[in-house]
């Protein structure tokens, strides 16, 4: 495993010294504003700024991260009629009223758990004798984006800690507070929220994003770790990971596939978000030095070579925010859907014409690389504005597919065949 810490610390230090110089220089500048004519060019951005690369142009000035409305959309006002699925498929509202509904997990009793990022809650959607209801099972949490379920226990990932609630289905009406199992995690806001999942090795996989758009960092960031389910035995599993918010294991090869979001402000068309595959523990996927397998970063990539990093198996579009992804193993959808990957693309902000904001279907070649990426669920963008934003996908036991939408605080269900409206 390569050690990047000494290098990055040196560079960080250099950045700090440089920053101090420019600061001192700024402080000594004469107070009088420039006499006349064109405004002076802006100083270069401070090292590590999330806006590095952003040109001082009118087109760029129109782009800013998009925040969803805080209040969930009423069920009857959801954009269901605008959403399109391929012929033969149906889409319905599965549950609504869950502010900022994000990652999904499923209990063996069929309870669907829903995390959130901008509020403090984890929700449960229960289905009792065909009667579905939503309840808050944990609140007062800090950016509880990640949820996972195994052997009766719900795992919750907040910004900087992992906790669990045992026998959650037994206590669903009055669950105890989550107990912390692991908190040796950085507290950065940037890319600090987490998707989590439990692998075929029965370990919990926990990503730690890079703490900024395009930054050098210490050994605790830019990786996927795995830990035992009691919080012990933490080890780094993958490196060079900028910000992954979705992963799953190939049901045939048991290899981990994960989405990773490319940096902002490089251009309208690159870098594309990545779909990666881990073939052995300790692989490095290149960020922030190499993006999409073939772009050496114009700022941090000097002296680096993309050949030294594992290239993605597929590209998911520029700035599209490919997030939640799962392999489809159900029997409800046609046979051609067996072992395809559904990927929720949250949609771009750092792009004049919005792209993503959909669920795509990724088919793999025999060798596990990407054969094709096709639209599956579309209609979330209207007049270059979002009417919804997909975050995660998850298969139910009957083979239908759930899709969460944090813009509207809702979860949709996609079925195939003669429409069987899930009982209300």
């Amino acid at each position: 495993m390569i050690s990047i810490s000494s290098v990055s610390r040196r560079v960080l230090l250099a950045g700090a010294v440089f920053g101090a110089f420019t600061l001192a220089a700024a402080a000594q500048q004469p107070a009088s504003p420039p006499a006349s004519g064109a405004a002076p060019a802006a100083q270069p951005l401070p090292p590590g700024s999330p806006l590095i690369g952003r040109p001082d142009s009118e087109a760029a000035a129109k782009l800013a991260p998009v925040a969803p409305p805080p209040i969930p959309t009423q069920a009857d006002k959801l954009p269901l009629a605008k959403l399109k699925v391929p012929a033969g498929f149906n889409i319905e509202v599965y549950a609504s009223g869950m502010a900022n509904a994000r990652s999904l997990a499923l209990s063996d009793k069929g309870t669907v758990f829903v995390g959130s990022r901008l509020v403090d809650k984890v929700y449960a959607i229960t289905d009792k004798d065909g009667k579905r209801s939503v309840k808050v099972i944990a609140s007062g949490l800090y950016r509880p984006n990640g949820v996972a379920f195994k052997d009766g226990t719900l795992y919750i990932a907040e910004l900087s800690k992992i906790s669990k609630i045992e026998k959650i289905d037994e206590f669903i009406d009055n669950p105890p507070k989550p107990t912390v199992i692991y908190d040796k995690l950085p507290k950065d806001e940037a890319h600090g929220w987490k998707f989590i999942a439990i692998g075929p090795d029965n370990k919990l996989y926990v990503p730690v994003g890079q703490p900024g758009n395009n930054v050098l960092h210490d050994d605790d960031h830019g990786q996927i770790r795995r830990i035992n389910l009691d919080g012990s035995g933490a080890e780094v599993y993958a490196l060079g990971v900028r910000n992954t918010v979705g992963f799953d294991w190939n049901p045939e090869t048991k290899q981990l596939y994960f989405t990773d979001n490319g940096r902002d402000w490089l251009s309208e068309t690159v870098p594309e978000d990545e779909l990666n595959r881990v073939t052995k523990a300790g692989e490095d996927f290149g960020a922030p030095f190499c993006y999409q397998g073939n772009i050496i970063d114009q700022e941090l990539g000097w002296g680096k070579n993309c050949k030294d990093y594992t290239a993605p198996v597929g590209l998911m579009g520029p700035h599209t925010a490919a997030l939640g992804m799962r392999f489809y193993t159900g029997s409800m959808f046609p046979k051609t859907y067996k072992n395809v990957i559904f990927v929720a693309r949250h949609g771009s902000w750092n792009k004049s014409q919005k792209q993503g904001g959909d669920v795509v279907l990724v088919k793999l070649n025999k060798d596990g690389t990407v054969k094709s990426v096709e639209p599956f669920l579309t209609g979330f963008i209207e007049d270059n504005k979002y009417v919804g934003r997909p975050v995660d996908v998850m298969q139910l036991k009957d083979g239908s597919l759930l899709v969460s939408d944090d813009w509207n605080g809702a979860v949709y269900r996609i079925t195939y065949g003669k429409q069987k409206v899930a009982a209300k």
């Binding site: 504003p33 951005l45 700024s49 991260p65 925040a67 509020v119 950065d188 940037a190 900024g212 758009n213």
Partner: protein
């Protein structure tokens, strides 16, 4: 100023929205601290005039849900319904823009503040005239003390943003630059 009394009065008026009480009447307790005409005269208390309605809605929601911690506002917002939140945030957006402070700006600080605002591309999200857009607040002519306090709170993450953006941006702004930035934005014309 007796903040408890005001908060208590405000609370009673919010909890018991009298029949057919207008939004102006319901908002009177808010404006007692935040300023009658969009400009706040109260220390560390933001001017609300011309604020973006989506931003105001997010903040009121965060106060109600205690995602943003400030006890007087948490109390004021706790019994508001979703419709109330929308009503108040739409009303806030109609208040006249805050007036620039009457004291003369310090030319040296203004020059440093402008350079910092340009260097950090504050106009990326806050708009070229710092009037804000959608979920991003107007910061032009906001109170200087409130701006400085807020930037410092974003820097040490004691104020949690709705999302991570300001915590991220403030990582590379030095603590001793905050005063000049706040001075410039407060006096921006």
């Amino acid at each position: 100023m007796n903040r408890t009394l005001i908060a208590a009065l405000a609370l009673s008026s919010l909890i018991f929205p009298a029949f057919a009480e207008t939004i102006q009447e319901r908002a009177a307790p808010c404006l007692a601290c935040h300023g009658e005409r969009g400009t706040s005269g109260t220390e560390n208390t933001p001017s609300l005039g011309g604020q973006q309605a989506p931003y105001a809605l997010i903040q009121l929601f965060m106060f109600r849900e205690k995602l943003r911690a400030f006890e007087p506002m948490n109390e004021m917002a706790k019994s508001l319904t979703d419709d109330d939140l929308r009503l108040f945030s739409d009303f806030i957006a109609t208040l006249p823009k805050p007036v620039p402070p009457s004291d003369a700006a310090d030319a040296a600080r203004m020059a440093r503040g402008e350079a910092l605002a340009r260097q950090n591309r504050c106009n990326t999200c806050h708009n070229t005239d710092y009037s804000g857009k959608e979920n991003v607040p107007r910061i032009a002519n906001q109170r200087e003390d409130y701006l400085a306090k807020t930037l410092a709170e974003y820097k040490d993450n004691s104020r949690h943003g709705y999302d991570a953006t300001m915590a991220d941006v403030m990582q590379t702004v030095a603590r001793d630059q905050i005063g000049d930035l706040a001075h410039y934005l407060a006096h921006h014309r």
